[in-house]
């Protein structure tokens, strides 16, 4: 009898804890959804404007109608996720909800959507078309010129940052030399000064070495700005690789360089990818130094292009501004999504000092 009684108790407890867990999970999902809304809505808004706004005005009516469909959908999925426990059920629920949302959107806002704001992608002479060639003086470039320049700045500075930070981090982690600790302290002190405070001296230096109005200027400056912190991060990653492994590789017949390349480097892969992503996005988003280091319109990158679309050349056409913003965001967003895993490792492995 005693045995039967205990069994009944266990079952009750199990049921209760299952129920508690489901309630907790439901609350958690609801909470996370709520705090995500302020982050997601601006992006969504920009996107909606870029495919709905007509020249002249901007209306948010489409946005509200879309939200009226999408918000209930999200909550419905949250509920479905909590109720259904099998992966297959959840997938069915998601598919059905997405189909419903698409149909709903097609009926409610489908007629207002268009791609006219994206015409800058295929039309090299946006300004001339609007105002006549004389006004803009043919200075305003095609978006792809700015896009390729931005890509070039971001990729080149990323390559420089990763190469220098990796090698310097390794050296700082592995070799004892006079002034090593002072050097490390120096790296940290550099982080105290905001680089914008140095804009004028940097301008002068770049002017004197003759790189003003070339893309090499911002590339070098951006590299220098990020290096101290990146070197520090990489040193942390190298510190976490045990000496034994390197020594072992050398007794196995590898030279020091081979040991570095074949054994040590694969173990700091997470750090390298993380600083590569951060470094690329920094270069892609840069506005201050690309503006400061040119006089006139010697080169265009995406940030300056966006600025002139919004402020200077065209008067304001919010539809086009939103469309340019969407195109501008996409590369950073993709990179971020694909490398998320490594960026979260950064906080674990990197900040060891």
């Amino acid at each position: 009898m005693a045995v039967a009684k205990t069994q009944a108790d266990w079952e009750l407890l199990a049921r209760r804890s299952r129920r508690d867990r489901r309630i907790k999970q439901g609350l958690l999902i609801a909470f996370l959804t709520l705090v995500t809304i302020p982050v997601v809505v601006p992006f969504f808004w920009i996107f909606v404007i870029s495919i709905s706004a007509r020249t002249g005005g901007v209306e948010s009516e489409v946005l509200w109608r879309a939200c009226a469909i999408l918000v209930p959908t999200v909550f419905a999925y949250g509920a479905a996720h909590t109720v259904f426990r099998r992966a297959r059920q959840r997938i069915y629920a998601a598919v059905i909800l997405v189909l419903l949302a698409v149909v709903g959107l097609a009926f409610s806002v489908g007629d207002d959507l268009h791609l006219y704001n994206y015409r800058f992608m295929v039309n090299p002479n946006l300004v001339e078309e609007l105002r006549g060639a004389a006004t803009a003086g043919g200075q305003f470039p095609w978006v792809w010129v700015a896009f390729v320049n931005s890509l070039f700045v971001a990729a080149t500075s990323m390559a420089l940052k990763v190469t220098v930070a990796t090698l310097a981090g390794y050296y700082l982690s592995r070799f004892a030399f006079r002034g090593r600790s002072q050097f490390l302290q120096g790296l940290l002190i550099l982080e105290v000064f905001h680089p914008w405070m140095l804009t004028i001296p940097i301008f002068l230096v770049i002017f004197w070495i003759g790189l003003l109005n070339t893309l090499a200027g911002p590339i070098l400056v951006l590299t220098a700005i990020d290096l101290p912190f990146f070197i520090f991060i990489m040193k942390g990653f190298f510190d976490a690789v045990p000496w034994d492994i390197e020594m072992s590789a050398m007794t196995d017949g590898a030279s020091r360089r081979q040991a570095f390349r074949m054994v040590v480097l694969p173990q700091v892969r997470g750090g390298i990818i993380a600083i590569a992503v951060l470094g690329f996005i920094k270069g892609w988003e840069e506005y201050v130094f690309v503006t400061a280091l040119r006089t006139g319109n010697s080169y265009w990158v995406m940030s300056t292009y966006l600025y002139y679309v919004a402020e200077d050349v065209m008067g304001v056409d919010y539809g086009v501004v939103a469309a340019v913003s969407v195109i501008y965001i996409i590369p950073s967003l993709l990179l971020y999504l694909f490398c998320q895993k490594f960026l979260t490792q950064l906080t674990l492995g990197g900040v060891k000092g």
């Binding site: 034994d244 020594m247 072992s248 590789a249 050398m250 007794t251 196995d252 017949g253 590898a254 074949m262």
Partner: protein, 342 residues
Amino acid sequence: MANVELRNLTKVWDQVTAVDGINLEIRDGEFLAVLGPSGCGKSTTLFMLAGVYLPSGGDILFDGARVNDVEARSRNVGIVFQSYALYPNMNVLQNIMFPLRFQETRDAAAQAREMAELVQVGELLERRPSQLSGGQQQRVALARALVKQPNLLLLDEPLSNLDATLRLTMRAEIRRITRELAVTTILVTHDQLEATTMADRVVCMNVGRIEQTGTAEDLYLRPDTLFVAGFIGSPPINLIRLQASQRAVLDVPDTAETVGIRPELLHSAETGLPVTVTTVEPMGRETLVTADSDLGPLRFLEATSRPKWSAGDKLHVSFRSQDTIVFDGAGQRMSDLHAAIG
């Protein structure tokens, strides 16, 4: 495969002298154990032999030729680290094959597989080191050290991370494999059982110096120094500092400072030194008894599993004079001198 000689080998770090003028010769095919407490410079010595650390002074000779300036990768030395140091980014087969990538080898994979079979990890070739148990990692590290047929195999406390049973098996395994391949081996350990059971010859080190070199029996029965006597043996030897009161009881030469006697060579008797039992510890086959006497506390072993005595009992102990070891003021053994109850 190689005859190794160390001449006056020294390594100085910033503040500490880790290795302090070591002289040692290791014969071809010999299995030598280096025994000593933590921090006495064992690993440093090994790493100098491997070529990872540069000696601060002295010479390392392989087959009579000085190799101080030869790089680690050209010395053809295999080493198993205490942490095993397997490459986490490679699977077991790639780990074992790694040393062969730097040589002209045509059938590297086949050789690696053969070595994996020898250390019995043939089924694990596709796994990553993180998916292996301690004992398996140990075997893989051994295979990787041996696959290039090294002149010299160095083992740095290879068993210290294993549990007791596994340690017993691996001890026998390592001995079997090194015999099979007839490779000159140096085993570093702080575990005296490991040293005495596996090695042909044992070197006992303390604070960077060699205290004594000899067979396990030499070190146990005829320790050259006080340090060796105290370090080797479990339960530890009784060491009696000779002051006036002790000299009144014992018949010893005046120059002697310390007398040692192993616990198993002391036994209870009808006559002899009167003692009072303080603690009794059954240790399986034997019982360890600690007792107070005019000489200070003494430990002795009774060869019975059920204790004959209990705390507070008064009895006599005696020993044979030739079983005692006598040390002078500098801690050196005074050979052919002994102590007796006088």
